[in-house]
Symmetry: C2
Amino acid sequence: MLALDAMGGDYAPREIVLGAAAVAGPALKLSLTGNPDEIEKALAGADAGARKFIEVVEAPEVIGFDEEPAKAVRTKQNSSLVAACREVAQGRADGAVSAGNTGAMLAAAMLQLRRIPGLKRPGLCTILPTPGKPTIFIDVGANSEARPVHLQQFAIMAGIFTEEVLGVVNPSVGLVSIGEESVKGNELVLEAHALMAQSSQLNFYGNVEGRDIIRSVVDIVVTDGFTGNVCLKLMESTSSLIVEEIKRAARSSLLAKIGGALLKRRLNEFKKSIDTEEFGAAYLLGVRGLVVVCHGNSSRKAIASALLNAARASRQNLTGKLERRFARLEAVRRQ
Amino acid sequence: MLALDAMGGDYAPREIVLGAAAVAGPALKLSLTGNPDEIEKALAGADAGARKFIEVVEAPEVIGFDEEPAKAVRTKQNSSLVAACREVAQGRADGAVSAGNTGAMLAAAMLQLRRIPGLKRPGLCTILPTPGKPTIFIDVGANSEARPVHLQQFAIMAGIFTEEVLGVVNPSVGLVSIGEESVKGNELVLEAHALMAQSSQLNFYGNVEGRDIIRSVVDIVVTDGFTGNVCLKLMESTSSLIVEEIKRAARSSLLAKIGGALLKRRLNEFKKSIDTEEFGAAYLLGVRGLVVVCHGNSSRKAIASALLNAARASRQNLTGKLERRFARLEAVRRQ
């Protein structure tokens, strides 16, 4: 069972509910949190066969995108977003998914689910659609400030995620810096590099530069949440700007128009392959429960894909494996 | 007179020297530092009319891209790169340009030219070819660590640069963060935001997010050298990756091939418009002399364009204006 915040997102509840209905079935039961009337109305447009695998959990309040996360979570305990996390905290669901206010979702997850013992900071990781093979990128914004040990722990968590969810054996880890050599970087990176290089938990590649993030140089790219968030948004914006410019070029003359028309299908395929809406889900690693945040502009397809990925992570017992790894590390540390 | 490191860059000395020959004239005299024989050989292929506006300064040593900057600058005082800065330091040239080892150029500039009094840290700024109007981006890597006052001073310097070199009146300044609100960001950004918001020297817009860097939201984007360097390399790599993918798409079927051929000219124009080789020059603001570093892969065209921009900055007395501004600020501070 996964809990889905039916009211979070630019196109909620309709697109969220239809995304749920597209994947609900005997192997994937869902509980939708939100306004029951609105959820039922949206469900009326969906395949009736899915209905019996969907529960509705009443949660009348909604947290908006502009609300201050910590305050919103504290004051709106009956919001669809907090309710989704509560379903997990109280053992009724294995994971919570929301396309609502990311900050509020992180705050609700921390409050309701708490940190994995031994882990200092949860990290938000996402899957970049890089050529050849996907790249795991952590932290894309759970923490605005980081210490070296946080980066090392992000790498360990992302390693387990990559093995369990993407099936990559012994994934390689790169640390974002301003030069490949171990002496290049700011204080945080220099110390984190030293820590990670001597960690037996990691297949540490060394530093990677900005250009390498999307070049599939490593399986996992680790950085602090400030740099990660800025980079993620910059990548999204660079890709969509370039696609816009190419479309403009393809309208600029008659020949270019014909050329553009002939290329259209390929360009659309390409656009889709880099579209963050298709890959826009991020996983909050490090809380005691599976928590997935989707892009605010998620379509039903994005929600369906996030639910399928979350279901896979849940079947693989991602959270349990993260807990066990950190319990072992804590035991070693205390010896 | 501008001093140009003839031996720095992937295509040195040939492309560097031909770039120089393309713009040298009565209004732009150049001194080329490096191996005189090699420089003369390269000049033999250039327009003879330019020759009399070009001096050659013998500097037999070369600093490679892999050398440790501070050490290389200390031990190779007779390198073409150090010699170019020395021409400025000793008053024979108004500015130094190099496509060689960036770190070494920064170290040589700091050593030979020293900081502008009142300025705490020089910053490396570059012009991003963003749609509609260019964006000034500072610091792209002169400093791996920054304090709030450094960011504020980068903004002041970039403001003068933008006014003098791009002719923009009262340019707006954005500070890179992970949210638009003033309470969003890491400690450095929160403090820098407060400082910049109350600075009468700045037309401060507030925070900008990663996506806004290339969206022409502001004239000047300020960040620390770590974030700036990672972002710059990420942008370069995202653009070139997307252009590669589109070329691949345009070869994928017969119709796509025809479409690609029809679109080719527009795509090439577009590629050029975002090509960092055409815009790859960065200006080290804050030392007592004009210092321009070019992309290692600079062609003659990139060198020619960097020289013309440097000449403009020199005519506008950019360095003198920076010095005067900081002298005034120092005077106010001491009152």
